[in-house]
Symmetry: C2
Subunit: 228 residues, 2 copies
C-alpha cells in the first residue's frame, strides 16, 4: 500500500511523463517543483519508490514509472477525476473549485467507494476540465483536449467541459442549448467575422470565437483513440 505522499509522487511522475505525451522520464528537480518540495526531499522519495519497484531510477539519472507504479498513478488520477466530476455535477461546485478538494479526496482508500461513485455518476468519460477519466480496469484513453474554436469544420464533437465558469457564461451556454455531453456539429466557420456555425439539437446557431474557446470538446473523429 502506497502512502498519500508516495501516491502524489507517482501521480506527478505520471503527469510529467506519460500524460504530457512528449517525455518518457522526469528529472528530480522537475518532480520536486511539480510537488512544491525541495529537490533533496524528492531525491529521498525517488530512492524509496525505486526500492518498492514503483519507479525506475538511477543516481544522477531521470525517473520513470514501472508498470506497478503506473497502475497506482492511474488509480489516483481516476479517483481525482471522479471526485471532481461528483463535486461539479452533484454538489454544484464551480469548475475552478473542484481541484483543491479532489486533491484530498483522491487518497481515500476504498475500492468499493470509487466503484460505487463511478456507477452513481453513470461512468463518466471526462471530468469537468475535459480530462479523460480512466476506467475501473485502469485503461486511459488519452484524448487531445481542445476547445470548440479549434474543432474541424464538418466534424461532430461532444461538449465535455467549460473553461470560463462565471455564472453569466454558464447561463449563456445554457441558453445556447449546450450542456455536458451535448453533441455539437461544426457546420461552417465564417471567414468574414470568424463566427462559428454550429448545429445543436438540429438547430443551427452562430457563436463567437470568444464563446467557442471556452467550450471544451472531444472529437471521436480527430482522436485515434490511443491507450496509455
Amino acid at each position: 500500500m502506497a502512502s498519500n505522499t508516495e501516491e502524489n509522487y507517482l501521480k506527478a511522475l505520471f503527469q510529467i511523463t506519460i500524460e504530457s505525451g512528449n517525455k518518457q522520464e522526469a528529472g528530480t528537480n522537475e518532480i520536486a517543483a511539480h510537488l512544491g518540495v525541495k529537490p533533496a526531499t524528492a531525491n529521498d522519495m525517488l530512492k524509496k519508490l525505486k526500492l518498492k519497484k514503483l519507479i525506475q531510477y538511477e543516481k544522477y539519472g531521470k525517473s520513470s514509472l514501472t508498470k506497478a507504479g503506473k497502475k497506482i498513478a492511474i488509480e489516483v488520477v481516476r479517483k481525482h477525476r471522479l471526485w471532481e466530476t461528483f463535486l461539479f455535477q452533484k454538489l454544484a461546485f464551480s469548475w475552478d473549485e473542484v481541484h483543491e478538494v479532489a486533491e484530498q479526496l483522491e487518497h481515500i482508500q476504498s475500492k468499493q467507494l470509487i466503484d460505487k461513485l463511478d456507477a452513481y455518476l453513470e461512468y463518466p468519460a471526462f471530468d469537468p476540465h475535459g480530462d479523460t477519466i480512466p476506467n475501473a480496469k485502469g485503461e486511459l484513453t488519452i484524448t487531445i483536449k481542445k476547445t470548440l474554436l479549434e474543432e474541424v469544420v464538418g466534424h461532430q464533437c461532444k461538449m465535455i467541459g467549460v473553461k470560463d465558469n462565471s455564472a453569466s457564461f454558464l447561463q449563456y451556454v445554457n441558453k445556447m442549448g449546450l450542456s455536458i455531453n451535448q453533441t455539437i456539429k461544426i457546420v461552417a466557420r465564417q471567414a468574414f467575422d470568424d463566427l462559428l456555425e454550429i448545429e445543436v439539437n438540429k438547430k443551427i446557431t452562430s457563436v463567437s470565437p470568444k464563446f467557442a474557446e471556452n467550450i471544451i470538446v472531444e472529437c471521436a473523429i480527430c482522436n485515434k483513440a490511443t491507450k496509455a
Copy 2:
C-alpha cells in the same frame, strides 16, 4: 488547524464523555484504548492538546474538552455522519459498511464541501445508524436512540435507521411501507403474542418483536431535546 490524529483524539474524548451522557471526563488509558494506541502515546497527545487549549488536562488527572476542542470534535462528528448518510443513501452502501470509509472522509478539510453535501442530502437529522447529525452551527440534539420495540404505545415516532441490513430484511421493511423518515404511530402492543400494531400511511399493520427491534426510531415526544 488540527491534524487528522488530533481530530481523532478530540472525537474520542467527545464520544467517551459528552456523548455517552454519563461522564464528564476520560482517563488516559480509556482514551488510548478507544483509539487503539498505547497509553504512552495518548499521554503525549494529551499534553499537546492541552498546550493547544483544546482540552483540560492535569498530570495524573482526567481529561475533558474545552469549548474550542468540543467545537472541532462536533465538526468531525458532523462530517462523519453526513458522509455515512451519503454513502448509505446515494451510493447504496449497506448500513454496516459505511463507518470505515467515513472514518477517512471525516478528515477532508473543506467547509464548502461539507455544507454542499449537507444541502445535497437535504439537511438530514440522522445518519444510517440513527445517530444525530450536528447542524452547521455545531448544535447537536442528543436524542436517545431506541428501536421500534421500545417505543411507547400511543406515541408517534419517525424511522431513522435499521439495525439488520440484509437484503431480505430491507425488502421486508419496504413491503411494510417503511423507509427512512417515515412516520410510525404505535397503536397497541398485544400482550398475548407481543405483536406491535403500528400505523403507517394511515394503514394499520402488525409487526413482530424481532422485526421491531431492528427498526431504529426517534420520538419527539420522548425526547426533551437537550443540546450538547
